[in-house]
């Protein structure tokens, strides 16, 4: 089982002292959080992608490339990559490049983005959200698997004899998750390709997650990728911990009460009851998190949101220490002992390479040195 953190990358005022970090500070804090994640033994760091204030991560592969150079083991991912407003050609290129630089420590999560005005900035329309996600991903999927692509669709200019470079590392494309809160079409999409499905599982009732994961598992089996319990599921989660649970509640409450997404609405206690948010002792977080498998089944990846709503970096790093030292080792052991042998781990570059029968150099040269022909002629 993989454990990690995912960040939205919001620049939010600290409600306890009115301090507003700069973009520069926030970007550096995201790097510090990623480095800390590796230091305390977490497996995954995932960044959001946004193109509007108050968010900073508009260029995820720049951030992840930098983190890749400063880490050894950490798996770099996204939460989410906008498959609607990005050109799928550019996603194919950027993430293949990142995959080479990070020696395969890369996967990514597709998402649509729910901010209407962002779409037209990139020449799109939010009303086409689902069709964009379907068409763009289908192209991306081909670009990583076919050396030369001829393609025509509704939303971007046609491609003739196009080769996306660099080719995926060792001929193995990065593993892809599809994230959605409540769109059954996206669970269907993940199932169709045999990709992973990630349920946001923060800010929403567990029933959303349960229904979406249930649909994904059923359709994963329908498409013949394995049994329903072998489908690859990831969940979000949101926690705040102190040794003494009353201290956790007292310290987190002002951040909760003023948080951008749910602030000024339900009380901390109501929201804790209605959503997977857990504020309390490390043991409470362990117990709640172990309970997730009761409604989604055995799953492969757990990402925690640790750094939003204006929490200062120092506090976030303390939280990561607690997570890495006291929570994740117990969760790892417990989840592993509960998981039946036929339920796989999340695919990694190494496991996909083994499944493919080993590495192959997938470089596409301008002219084939055996036939002397250009790639499009040798098809």
């Amino acid at each position: 089982m993989q454990f990690g953190v995912f960040t939205v990358g919001d620049v939010t005022v600290d409600p306890t002292n009115g301090r507003l970090p700069s973009e520069h500070e926030r970007i550096k804090a995201m790097v510090a959080i990623a480095l800390k994640a590796e230091e305390v033994g977490l497996d995954v760091f995932a960044t959001g992608e946004h193109h509007n204030p108050p968010f900073v991560p508009s260029s995820p592969t720049t951030l992840l490339g930098h983190i890749a150079a400063r880490t050894e083991r950490l798996l770099l991912s996204t939460a989410t990559t906008l498959i609607t407003t990005n050109d799928p050609v550019k996603i194919a290129e950027d993430y293949a490049m990142l995959q080479h630089l990070a020696d395969g420590r890369v996967d990514l999560m597709m998402g649509r983005g729910n901010t209407g005005p962002v779409y037209p900035w990139f020449g799109q329309d939010i009303r086409n959200g689902i069709p964009l996600a379907i068409e763009n991903y289908d192209l991306l999927h081909r670009l990583w698997r076919e050396d030369v692509v001829d393609w025509k669709g509704r939303f971007r200019t046609p491609l003739q004899s196009f080769t996306s470079t660099p080719r995926p590392l060792d001929g193995v494309p990065p593993f892809v998750w599809h994230g959605s809160i409540r769109s059954p079409e996206i669970a269907e999409q993940a199932a169709y390709y045999g990709d992973g499905f990630f349920a946001n599982h923060i800010f929403w009732p567990k029933e959303h997650t349960q229904r979406m994961v249930g649909l994904y598992r059923e359709r994963f089996a329908h498409y013949g990728h394995g049994s329903a319990d072998q489908a690859i599921v990831g969940l979000g989660g949101q926690v705040f911990m102190r040794r003494n649970s009353q201290d956790a509640v007292r310290e987190f409450r002002p951040y909760f009460d003023n948080a951008p997404v749910y602030g000024h609405g339900p009380s901390l206690e109501e929201f804790t009851r209605e959503t997977p948010l857990t504020v309390g002792s490390p043991q409470q977080v362990i117990d709640r998190t172990l309970g997730f498998r009761e409604y989604v089944g055995d799953y492969q990846r757990q990402l925690f949101l640790m750094d939003h709503a204006g929490l200062p970096l120092k506090t976030v790093l303390e939280q990561l220490d607690i997570l890495g030292e006291e929570v994740v080792p117990v969760l790892r052991k417990e989840f592993d002992s509960l998981r039946p042998a036929h339920v796989p781990e999340a695919p990694t570059h190494a496991s996909m390479l083994a499944a493919a029968g080993g590495a192959k150099d997938s470089t596409v040269h301008a002219v084939d040195d055996v036939t002397g022909k250009a790639p499009e002629e040798s098809r």
């Binding site: 069709p131 289908d138 079409e185 269907e188 800010f203 609405g265 339900p266 109501e270």
Partner: protein, 208 residues
């Protein structure tokens, strides 16, 4: 015998409230007519006052807490709806509007609805026609022709023979007729149900 359910939404704020009193009388009139037509009737009443915080929380978080979820399911799953609001500032109350703002899209389409209102003076009575009826028309509900407004003087009327009583009976009968000519409600559509195939999605076709 057909089973029919009537959902009653009352946005009265006082306890007891004249809005709830009117809602109950409208429900009883509709029930009596449905029973006369051979139906077995269940009445489920939603007092919006009890859900006021949850309605605001739903607006802010995008999902209903459990108690409000149950109230929304009651409204979406009923054969007929009786909706009664106090008139504030020449329109429905904010709480009444906010509640219907979080009712799922399509949940009231083709649903027979009887609207009623209360107010401090009869001069507010046309708010039913210029504010409440258009809102339900937008939701594609079937609003019965008789809307019932009760001013303080109406409650002082002469028992069963009062004009208000007659109007309540007529409105209740109209709602019962609309309910009676429709098949039993099947509840709201499941938002998590897949309504298309992946082949259609890939081909960019609309759901079949």
């Amino acid at each position: 015998m057909t089973r029919r359910t009537l959902a009653v939404v009352s946005a009265g704020l006082g306890q007891p409230s004249s809005t709830r009193l009117l809602a109950d009388q409208l429900a009883a009139a509709a029930r009596d007519e449905l029973v006369r037509r051979g139906a077995e009737v269940e009445i489920h009443t939603v007092e919006l006052r009890e859900h006021a915080h949850d309605v605001v929380n739903h607006l802010l978080t995008g999902f209903p807490p459990a108690a409000l979820r149950a109230a929304l399911d009651t409204v979406a799953g009923a054969d007929g709806l009786i909706a009664v609001t106090p008139i504030f500032n020449a329109s429905y109350s904010g709480l009444f509007k906010s509640f219907f703002d979080v009712v799922e899209k399509e949940a009231l389409a083709d649903r027979p609805v009887l609207i009623g209102a209360t107010g401090g003076t009869a001069r507010h009575s046309l708010a039913l026609e210029h504010a409440v009826r258009p809102m339900f028309a937008y939701l594609r509900a079937v609003v019965v022709p008789t809307a019932v407004f009760a001013a303080p003087e109406d409650w002082a009327g002469d028992g069963d023979d009062s004009a208000l009583r007659a109007r309540i009976r007529r409105a209740g009968t109209e709602l019962a007729e609309q309910v009676d000519r429709r098949p039993a409600a099947t509840g709201p559509a499941d938002p998590f149900a897949l309504t298309t195939s992946f082949e259609n999605l890939l081909a960019g076709r609309d759901p079949a």
